[in-house]
Symmetry: C2
């Protein structure tokens, strides 16, 4: 994997670049749509390419490990073949599930025992196992196995957990380096910085991770309920430590405003379930603020869903029609709002990139943040 | 509305024709996808046109009357505008709900009182009201208000009900003729033949309906649980009475085999929820029989969903992948199987038409009926 840093903004830390992978180039800043189980919910692969056009998507190791399982994925020739997606795929490591499934897992130095939410069966994830599974899935980008701490998190817990994540990272690197790429393309390991919302821990973790000298660096453990200002503060201390010449991935973030603020702090890659999950709940993001399409006020509004037209759905369907679909619980409503939100997120990142390259990112960002901070 | 009967098969009663409407031509035999609430579940309007390509779709009066209601539909300029569909639309009259919502309705000579399944509110449908609502919805083809009797149905009940349906038809015709077309295009009323599974009643009803001399004739009250042989027998006695120069619509039918058998008996138009509903349950129809894609046997079958390729989904996704989507309850699975089934149904009708025009329908039909009668 190779990263070309094309430009860094003069007024902010925002960067425009290109990540090169064996499945094609990723223009940054980028938002990666989440396809947990090998499908971006409600969106055909063809639509995703043609209407949303992301250079990369994300899938979830823990979920794919449970179903369909690595046996089927290996027989298929990897996830790209299985789901018919020929662009890059990043898989999380299962580390996020250490946080999100906290009632159903037990953490030890050796690894994490999960109780399946499907059938109650037990599964033991170690750093080594997380590498093996991600290689089997066939991810272009493999994430290190970490503990994502909750918010708030007591200082001593955060410190101990961070050190364990660092030890796990060493094990990930060693195992990753001792195992071959699968399916004939290059797989790349990304390390993850932890440290909760403590600046000293974040600096310490960023230094540890940077010293591992992997091709990119990721920031985990944010977007778990902390105020946005704390998230930005953590991003800021971390990006100050990280090398410029490697891409930075902020995991699990966030709203359109969160994205722009973090781009301004030097983040290159994002993922989040928000555009897809909120879309399925009838919440759409626009350049002028967010809309709850279920509200009565849209009942007789026959104007296009979004006349900016990020995807064809925006002008194909009216607000009134989409509201009706949600009122009667028709799946087409969820499909429409998902495509709209993803297309908007990807448009926002492409616009950010253009403005970084044009040199007017800071003023554009301020304007957009103000505009988007409305409920329509 | 005008019907051109292009050819009647020599060996069977099968016919190829064209129905002309202000929203375009309908080549018959035709299958009409069901879009109950102004959406064919899980399918974008654009996909429906490009991948399934039906000349006409169906929507449900009772459901649209409850939500979004005629007020919204009128403000939108009718259902075509509301849902962004520029080809013909046929609406049922609510008569089917007299059957399907039997626990929540009361029939009188004047009309039917329904208790809403949404909020328990009461709504009174009369033949006149059914005409008004369908005109407001903006259907190209409006169905008469009838009582669809259940199966089995006691003879005397079926006879009395049939006579009431006939009196209602007279009221429908009178009210329809006394009210103007809406939205600037021609609306056409179709009468409905009843009579349960009794040949004498079916003949009587067909004669009554034929004498009303409307532009087409519909056969109702079938596909309500009776054996296929009884359905075919009723179709046969009815089509023998009906004039050749008008299209015949068999309501609510059916499986791919049912369609071909009824085409052979002289039916031109069909609708049914089967391809969409069964698709959402993971059951797909193919030229070689039906498939339950949820079965374990497809787990590692990486061949295309259907290599015949009726729609792009057939070759885009493997059986294994679609099975996975159903196993994990992902909506994309429902979307894929719905498009496949509809594309297959429409292909089947287009093939039937080709073979009728080519003169070898009977042999083709026999072959297809045999082939499709498998569980794969």
């Amino acid at each position: 994997m190779k990263f070309d840093l094309l430009k860094t903004d003069a007024a902010t830390q925002a960067r425009a670049g290109v990540v090169h992978t064996d499945h094609g180039a990723i223009e940054t800043p980028i938002f990666m749509p989440v396809g947990t189980l090998g499908t971006v919910k409600g969106v055909h692969q063809r639509e995703l390419k043609e209407e949303v056009n992301p250079d990369i998507i994300l899938a979830n190791t823990y979920h794919l490990y449970l179903r369909p399982g690595t046996d089927i994925l290996e027989k298929a020739g990897g996830l790209h073949q299985f789901m018919n997606w020929d662009r890059p795929i990043l898989t999380d490591s299962g580390g996020y599930q250490v946080y999100s499934l906290s009632a159903n897992r037990k953490i030890k130095e050796e690894g994490v025992k999960f109780k399946s939410h499907i059938d109650g069966s037990y599964h033991f994830f170690t750093p080594e196992r997380a590498m093996d599974i991600q290689r089997s899935i066939g991810a272009d980008i493999i994430m290190a196995f970490d503990e994502c701490t909750p918010y708030p998190c007591e200082y001593n817990y955060a410190r101990r957990s961070m050190h364990m994540t660092h030890r796990w990272l060493k094990r990930c690197i060693e195992h990753f380096n001792n195992t071959p790429d699968r399916y004939g393309f290059k797989q790349t390991l990304f390390p993850i910085i932890q440290g909760s919302t403590y600046k000293d821990l974040r600096v310490q973790s960023a230094e540890f991770v940077a010293n591992c000298d992997l091709p990119a660096n990721a920031i985990g453990g944010l977007s778990v309920g902390e105020p946005a200002e704390e998230m930005y503060a953590m991003t800021e201390v971390v990006t100050a430590v990280l090398p410029n010449e490697k891409p930075r991935y902020l995991m699990g973030v966030g709203t359109p405003i969160n994205l722009l603020e973090n781009v301004a702090l030097g983040v290159d890659m994002f993922d989040c379930v928000m555009p897809t999950r909120n879309g399925r709940n009838g919440m759409i993001f626009t350049a002028n603020g967010s809309i709850n399409i279920k509200n009565k006020k849209w009942e007789a509004d026959f104007s296009p869903l979004d006349d900016a037209g990020y995807a064809w759905v925006d002008t194909e369907y009216s607000k009134s029609y989409v509201r009706h679909l949600f009122t009667v619980n028709e799946m087409l409503g969820r499909q429409i709002c998902t495509i709209h939100n993803l297309a908007f997120y990807l448009w926002l990142m492409r616009e950010a990139r253009k403005h970084i390259l044009a040199g007017d990112f800071a003023t554009w960002k301020e304007k957009m943040v103000k505009q988007m901070d409305n409920r329509l």
